[in-house]
Symmetry: C3
Subunit: 231 residues, 3 copies
């Protein structure tokens, strides 16, 4: 009977880990869908209470910081006063793909790498045109995120979006200097700014500059957990 | 012994649910591959007998309707008379990604949200050029689909493709009014038309118009089933 | 007790198969991330010792062949002498998606279909410009790969990348003849060439030519293994 008990417990753990990976993938895909439609409250709920976002070498901390980034800043930047959700003639499609998720052995934390592609801009017939935003543009980036199980539900602990390039649609990435540059002025001096800046030696210059994006997983077994080794 | 029985049954159900989600994701990816290559019979087989497709605010019903859409219409529109499958110099790539799948507790039905990107058009050296189709264009859309287990196999019960935007390659989405507009004339008056139209108040104006695409899942736990909560 | 034993063994196998599919998906996504950043040694480690790559109708054999393709050729072609990893102003983003994975009943081999999209090129401010490479371009292709479990870890046995089209960014796929053509001169006569060529009747003409890309899976049940049939 103790053999059955051991095998049951092992199976329960392996199945739990597969469910964890699915839940975390789903969490990131949901993140993508929510930011498309400017839903900052829904985005914030995907994060742990002390969750944070690294964006343009600045760190937005906690639900307040996350709402400042995805709510105040995004709405100020992208939408006309009073506009909300999907706006006429405005595009902000965040395509998400290529998930590599590693769940820690105790199944309380996890890491995830993803890749996103962004097609955005305004239709020429839209009256409001965001200042400083190209009329139409493409962008891509890589995420290396941390996750935590909080009260039984997987949440984003730290989202790190590393923009790789931007391209004005008219001229392409070969002739574009990224319209987004590293953030230099934190909140509250900059009312849309991050709660803190990354240290200067960690600051990431944007396209056409490149940096490596180290992977969270060990190579070539990718960490034992999801390696598919015979068990 | 009854405890072992209970744990075995719970595991069998959880594993079955993981297999269901994989099967449904696979079903949608296969759908994407089949429509790339103009294979309407293969597409129809992915659907339940009474399956349907909502496309451009029209509903194509059953295998006959599905073949009318992916066979008669697509072939009439995209291919020269007698052309089949992949045609010289013709592109219709449907990239599929970002799956959010929720299996019902009884594992007989499911819902799935996906996102697709389409790159299409004709090479300048192709003699046949589809009328009304831009020479080269991009498109993206979101799917909110229903699935059903039919005779032991997952099938599409209802595919709802909500096109989000189209862009002529030459001028981009900022300067394009979608070449596809809501369908207004049903079959058989329109021999390529849908079996019925969505009610007028559900009709979706196409790009540059936008609408919300409500998600099938409850937020933030996304429904209990795949939430990864400790079990 | 033998019933419990039977059910435990069945569950262990089903869970193993789900882990296999996850491991293989992860393997392909890792492949995508590594080639973005010109890491040929990491790429080679993803392959079985006798693994091979079919690219442009040529076959690169074993780790030596794989390093010739992803190392010698890619670096010669894409990077300036002495440049390594992510290079200033150089883009080679391989977006990976749409996985269809079928694990063999004995769980020692598997097949996988994937789709990739490539955005590449050089920023105008980059001094080195690869000869014969468009300043900025897009590409897409479909993979039909074989996998093998080698010493307990899933590895790529055979990667078959079937490029579907290329498009110069300036003019688009409608006005581009693929800059990559089928390979005709093998190694060592061509120091960057493949170890062997596909037979002439298997040679794939590139865009605007098209060919079918048959799917490894049986339709419509896709092979029993992942079909999600009631078990």
């Amino acid at each position: 009977m103790s053999d059955v008990e051991t095998r049951l417990a092992a199976l329960e753990n392996r199945v739990g880990e597969l469910e964890d990976a699915n839940a975390i993938r789903r969490l990131h895909w949901a993140y993508g869908y929510y930011i498309d439609f400017n839903r900052p409250d829904d985005v914030a709920e995907l994060f742990a209470e002390d969750g944070e976002v690294t964006f343009l070498s600045g760190v937005y901390v906690g639900h307040a910081g996350i709402r400042r980034l995805y709510g105040t800043w995004f709405k100020n930047f992208f939408l006309a006063p009073g506009e909300d959700g999907p706006a006429y003639g405005f595009l902000l499609d965040h395509f998400q793909m290529q998930d590599i998720i590693t769940v820690a052995p105790d199944r309380q934390t996890a890491k995830g790498r993803f890749r996103g592609m962004l097609f955005g801009g305004s239709h020429e017939s839209r009256t409001f045109k965001p200042e400083g935003l190209p009329l139409q543009f493409m962008e891509a980036g890589i995420y290396e995120n941390d996750y935590v199980r909080e009260n039984g539900t997987w949440k984003i602990k730290r989202l790190d979006y590393m923009m790789q390039w931007q391209g004005d649609y008219e001229t392409g990435w070969a002739r574009t200097v990224a319209h987004l540059q590293p953030l230099l002025v934190p909140y509250p001096e900059n009312p849309l700014g991050p709660d803190r800046l990354l240290p200067e030696d960690k600051r990431r210059q944007t396209w056409p500059h490149r940096q490596d994006v180290p992977m969270h997983f060990a190579h070539p077994k990718f960490g034992a957990v999801l390696a598919g080794a015979e068990k």
